[in-house]
């Protein structure tokens, strides 16, 4: 429990919170958040994984741990503080906040709960906090996404996954814009978007133009979204062509949503992943020098210190 406190470099408020989300389940969110955390820990930074998949926690499985008796349920019902439910892992500098695992009644991730959680997470002494979200663009997931520093969106090259992730991005944009305008104007906008979805004419629709014309009060918020762009990770890549899909996603988001999206990198499909999960040992620990580990290292370096990756002239 004290591991994070002992190894912590920075003290409170200085940490960076990352959230790993996806519009679709089964694309590897938990695997990616666990692997990112292991890589960050290997780079020497104290890191905490928060399992915020309210439909069923499984980050501990990806880390090869047993579920902890202390979990977020104790935090949300007020019986424990966040510090008290952190459990250390077998990996140095890496600890876990166990998700809701023994809660048999429905749990809702409300805006208040998210705000409180994020505030308390910022108080932690770990340098990095990685939140593993559940699948889908639910209200709670998007609320978390709005509060974190680095927004990581995981997709696979399948059209089903891409489609659901675009819906996630749309939900995120709408949720950001909604509080900045009046309900009437917001509903008009939603109607306009819906009409566009069902129309067949080929004239390109511009979200930015619409906002500039009809809801100028929301434009600063819309522009500000580019300051903290969504990072796209393409998981389960099986060919070279699929690995460049991220650039296409970036371009489509840029042209359609007029939103900066960063293609963080792609992760190859690797049979070692499911094999190692079955053996309850993280693949980056069992096989630390594979191309897969290199890909995660590149993702982490992009997020932690992109300058380091630049070529020195």
């Amino acid at each position: 429990m004290d591991l994070v406190q002992i190894t912590g470099e920075k003290c409170g408020m200085g940490n960076s919170i990352w959230a790993v989300a996806s519009g679709k389940g089964g694309v590897g969110k938990s695997f990616i958040s666990a692997s990112l955390a292991i890589t960050v820990a290997k780079l020497g930074h104290p890191v905490v994984i928060v399992d915020l998949d309210i439909t069923g926690a499984n980050s501990h499985t990806c880390l090869g741990m047993n579920p902890s008796p202390l979990n977020l349920r104790h935090y949300f019902d007020g019986s424990k503080t966040l510090q008290e439910i952190i459990v250390p892992s077998s990996i140095p500098k890496l600890s876990l906040i166990q998700g809701l695992w023994d809660s048999w009644n429905l749990f809702e991730l409300t805006a208040d709960r998210v705000e409180k959680l994020v505030k308390d997470l910022r108080e932690l002494t770990a340098s990095y906090v990685i939140i593993d979200l559940g699948a889908g663009g639910t209200h709670g997931n998007i609320e978390v996404f709005k509060h974190v520093d680095e927004k990581i969106l995981v997709t696979t090259p399948e059209p089903t996954s891409l489609e659901k992730n675009y819906r996630f991005i749309e939900g995120y944009i709408c949720s950001k814009i909604q509080p900045t305008t009046t309900p009437d104007k917001y509903m008009d906008w939603i109607h306009a978007l819906r009409e566009k979805r069902h129309s067949t004419n080929s004239s390109a629709y511009s979200i930015r133009n619409y906002i500039t014309d009809k809801m100028p009060e929301s434009l600063p918020t819309f522009e500000a979204m580019n300051n903290s762009p969504i990072h796209v990770v393409v998981n389960s890549v099986r060919s070279h062509e699929q690995s460049s899909l991220g650039y296409s996603i970036r371009s489509v988001c840029n042209k359609y949503f007029e939103l900066e999206v960063n293609f963080l990198g792609s992760i190859n499909y690797d049979n070692a992943v499911w094999q190692s999960i079955r053996l309850h040992e993280p693949v980056l620990i069992a096989q630390p020098f594979t191309p897969l580990a290199g890909q995660f290292l590149s993702l982490c370096k992009h997020l932690i210190d992109p300058e380091e990756l630049r070529a020195v002239v």
């Binding site: 090259p157 399948e158 059209p159 891409l162 489609e163 675009y166 067949t200 080929s202 390109a204 511009s206 930015r208 133009n209 460049s244 899909l245 650039y247 296409s248 996603i249 970036r250 371009s251 489509v252 840029n254 042209k255 359609y256 007029e258």
Partner: protein, 207 residues
């Protein structure tokens, strides 16, 4: 895409204004891959028609930014804050042509068809240098231009037209030259060349 961005080719290709040429090419290839074929990334976002429209703009953008001359002119206009109409590909191309020396265009030959002359050419069986000169002038070709096309030194072309054996290399080469000139003038290659060589040999004899 916003209207004022329609001619911002850098925004279309999503590259930095100072991006080196190879990055522009990479960006174009990626954009082309995205909006052509059935890339899953455009699924549920752009229809096939919309993608085709984008592809058109992307190709136009690359035809400017992919060309160093056009790109530098475009940059000047873009940062010089001129009107949006001035930034189209067509206007750039026009402007760039104004800057280029127009040697090739001027020499476009407009053939003047003179029936009497055509008839004379058809019926003529005895050919020598001056006759070739006459046909060449009728076709509107200068010696320099003929030399450019056939890659024969203009000095030799003049010598052939003047039937000046001293200014010419060995007879086999002359035959090759004449064959080329005759072909370029659009005459009957075998008959005209044979006739010319027959005349040429009579000049060579006294030497």
């Amino acid at each position: 895409m916003s209207a004022d961005g329609k001619f911002n080719y850098y925004a279309i290709l999503e590259v930095d204004q100072h991006a080196p040429q190879h990055e522009v090419t990479t960006a174009f290839e990626r954009a082309k891959k995205t909006y052509s074929g059935d890339n899953p990334a455009i699924y549920t976002i752009f229809s096939q028609d919309e993608a085709r429209e984008y592809l058109k703009i992307i190709e136009e953008a690359y035809s400017v930014l992919g060309n160093k001359t056009l790109r530098s002119m475009y940059d000047k206009k873009l940062f010089g804050k001129s009107s949006v109409e001035d930034l189209s590909y067509a206007s750039l191309l026009k402007a760039s042509q104004a800057n280029m020396p127009q040697t090739k265009k001027v020499e476009k030959i407009v053939p003047v068809v003179d029936e009497a002359m055509e008839k004379e050419i058809r019926e003529k069986t005895d050919w020598s240098g001056p006759d070739l000169k006459k046909v060449r002038e009728y076709r509107g070709l200068s010696i320099e231009r003929l030399s450019q096309i056939t890659k024969i030194n203009s000095y030799y072309i003049r010598a052939i037209e003047d039937m000046n054996a001293k200014g010419l290399p060995a007879y086999v080469f002359v035959r090759g030259y004449v064959l080329q000139i005759v072909r370029e003038l659009g005459l009957d290659q075998k008959n005209v060349t044979d006739s010319f060589i027959k005349n040429y040999k009579t000049i060579m004899k006294p030497e």
